[in-house]
Each structure stands twice: as C-alpha cells, then as structure tokens.
C-alpha cells in the first residue's frame, strides 16, 4: 500500500517537474511576450497540478488534501484570469508603441 502511494508520488512529481522544465524552456526560447505568457501559464499550472496530485497520497489528513486541492484551484483561477489581463496590456503596449 505504502509502495503504491510512493509510486504515484514518484510518477506524478516527476511529470510535474517535466512540465516546469517545459515551461521554463518556453520562457527562455520563445520570442515575444504573448508566446512566453502562453508557456508560463499553461505548462506551469499543469506542473503545479501534477505536483499537488503527487503530494495527495502523502497528505496527513483529508483536510490537508482538500487544502492542497484548493491551492491548485486558486492557482488555476489566477492563471486563467491574470494571463488575459497581461496579454491585453502587452497588446496595448504594442499598438501604442
């Protein structure tokens, strides 16, 4: 049982780390603001989600597990809305520049 839990953690956290890697490569390599924003919000939010998924089997209680999930939900909400606002700011800056 403990082994199975550890396996889930191992796989999910590794996958999460991979998405953080992908997001960072995107940030470093993509040419302009909008594509970099895309790399940041999509890949990193998925990475955080997988890390949360991997930590769920290690959580001490149901309450901790629920809090972990709400951390991810908050991050998703922030990613979805803030990225739009930043993208608009970027477009405005490009048209007025």
């Amino acid at each position: 049982m403990s082994l199975a839990r550890d396996m889930i953690t191992l796989v999910a956290v590794s996958a999460g780390a991979f998405f953080f890697l992908a997001g960072t490569i995107g940030l470093l390599r993509f040419p302009d603001t909008l594509t970099r924003l895309h790399a940041l919000t999509k890949a990193d939010n998925l990475g955080l989600g997988l890390v949360v998924l991997g930590l769920l089997p290690q959580a001490a209680s149901v309450r901790d597990a629920l809090k972990l999930i709400s951390v991810w939900l908050l991050a998703l909400l922030a990613g979805a809305t803030v990225s739009q606002l930043i993208a608009r700011a970027a477009r405005e800056a490009r048209t007025t520049r």
């Binding site: 908050l74 909400l77 809305t81 803030v82």
Partner: protein, 314 residues
Amino acid sequence: MNIASTFELMLAAVVLGLGIWTIAVHETYSAAVGFVAYGLLVALIWVRLDAVDVALTEAAISGGLGGVLLLGAAARLRHAELMVAEVPDRLTRVSAAVLSVMTAAALVGAVLWLPDSAPTLAPEVVANAWATSLTNPVTNVLMAFRAMDTMLEKVVLLLAIIGVWSLAPDTAWGGRPGPRHRADPNGVLVFLARLLPPAGIAIAVYILWTGANHPGGAFQGGAILAAMWLLAVMAGLTDTPAVGRRWLRLILVAGPALFLVVGLGGLWFGTAFLAYPTAQAKPLIVVIEVAMIQTIAATLGLLLTGAPERSAKP
C-alpha cells in the same frame, strides 16, 4: 555535500540574485517588481527555518502588501524619477561599498562563531502554555506573554495612518484616498474580483482561527483581508471610503481600544496590566483577536491607498 544542503544553497542563491537585482537594476519599477518576487520567495526560507508564523507574515505583509505599496509609488513617480540623474561620485560609492562589506563581514562572523545551540526561551514558553490553553507558542508570546508589545504595535499602526492622512491637501481633507478605479463590468478583472474575495475571506478567517493552535493569527489573516478589499477597489467594484467617516475611525481604534480595556481590567481585577484571569484567558484572547483582525485589515488597506486625494463630496 548532500541533496538537502544543495537545495538550501540554491534557495539562498535565488533570493540573493533577486536582492542584487532589486538594488542594481536601473529602473525603479523593475526594482519594485523584483522586491515583490523577493518578499514572496523569502517565505520559503522561513518555512525551512521552521518559523511558519513568520513565513505567513513575510509573504502577506512584507512581500504582498509592502511590495505592492512600493510598486504603486514607483508607477506614480515614474516620470519624476527619470529626471533624477545625480548619481553619487566614485568616492562615495567606494566608501559605501567598504562600509557595507565590513558590516556584512561582521554579521557573517556573528553567524559563524556564535554558539550553535543558542540560549532559548522555548522551554519556558511551553511550560507556561497552560495559562492560556492555546498551543501555538508564537500566539502565546504575542497575545499573552509579550502582549504589551503587540498592543503598542497596534498603536504604531494607528500613528502611521494618522501620519499618512495628515499629508492630505486642504481640498481633500477627510476625503477619499487613491484614484477611482474603473473596469469593464463584464470583463475578466471584475470576474476575478467577484470570485476571489469570498475564497480569500474564508481563508483569512481560517488563518485567524487556526492561529490558536497552529501557525496563523490576526496579522496574517488581516493582511489577506486587506488584499481582498484592495482587489475589489482595483476592479472598481467599490470605492475607498472617505477617511472622515465615523464608522471607519471606530474600526481603526476598536482593536487597540479593546486591548487597552482588557489590559486595564487585568489591573483592576487581577495582578497586573494585561494579566488575563487563567480561566477566561482563551475567550479573552479570541475576542481581542477578532477585534484586531478588523482593525488590522482596515489599517493595512488604508495605509496602502495612501493620503486622501479626492474631496468627500462627489
């Protein structure tokens, strides 16, 4: 060198890099952005130092609210600051560098040569925890053993807000601080500002409540409440209140006033100023904290919005 200490080196390096960026970067707006990132990341160091109460405070007050305060000022001073070109001469910079390096070296010496097991008050705090029946040692120190410090700190907050308000120009005396924000009522920002504050308020109340036995408390919860209120203000959902309002002033003094009343009650009924009767210690502390979270949230939020700028009458 094992994995754990490599991670610590890396965390210290990231935070140091942000610190250097904050001091060295040319533009003030970028420095303020760097400082926000710095303040949020320092919370990780505090978690590693096993001081979660401080981690919460640093993340909420220092990084979040303090960073945004500096950022707002940087945005408003942007045009004025570009004009300033008087960089200090070489001699000043070199002597400043020498002084800074010497100070840092002295502190490094202190860190390295002070005894590794420092004298500690932790056992005494634990031994006296029965007096309040709270199990979070930091809350015990803040609210009971050193309650005087915490009460005076509320007075400092009050003095700061009086100082900020007294900078208002005559035309806006007692008026509303900050500009009136507007946003598309069907837009993304308003959507977020309607959705996030309920969750934020629930989390703030949870942080206040859990502070009795686990890390948390009125400061951290109050800072979250202030951030949620400012979010609604930035989305144009609500306006800042005119600072001359009586209800507002009542909220601002409620926390320290209740603290003072309880303290004088200790002098009257008990043995000393701020001495809680043991049986009622926990309810009294909870009542003070509930009053304080409102005062703290209002004070922090209003400190961020600054001096009144618009007349109270629209």
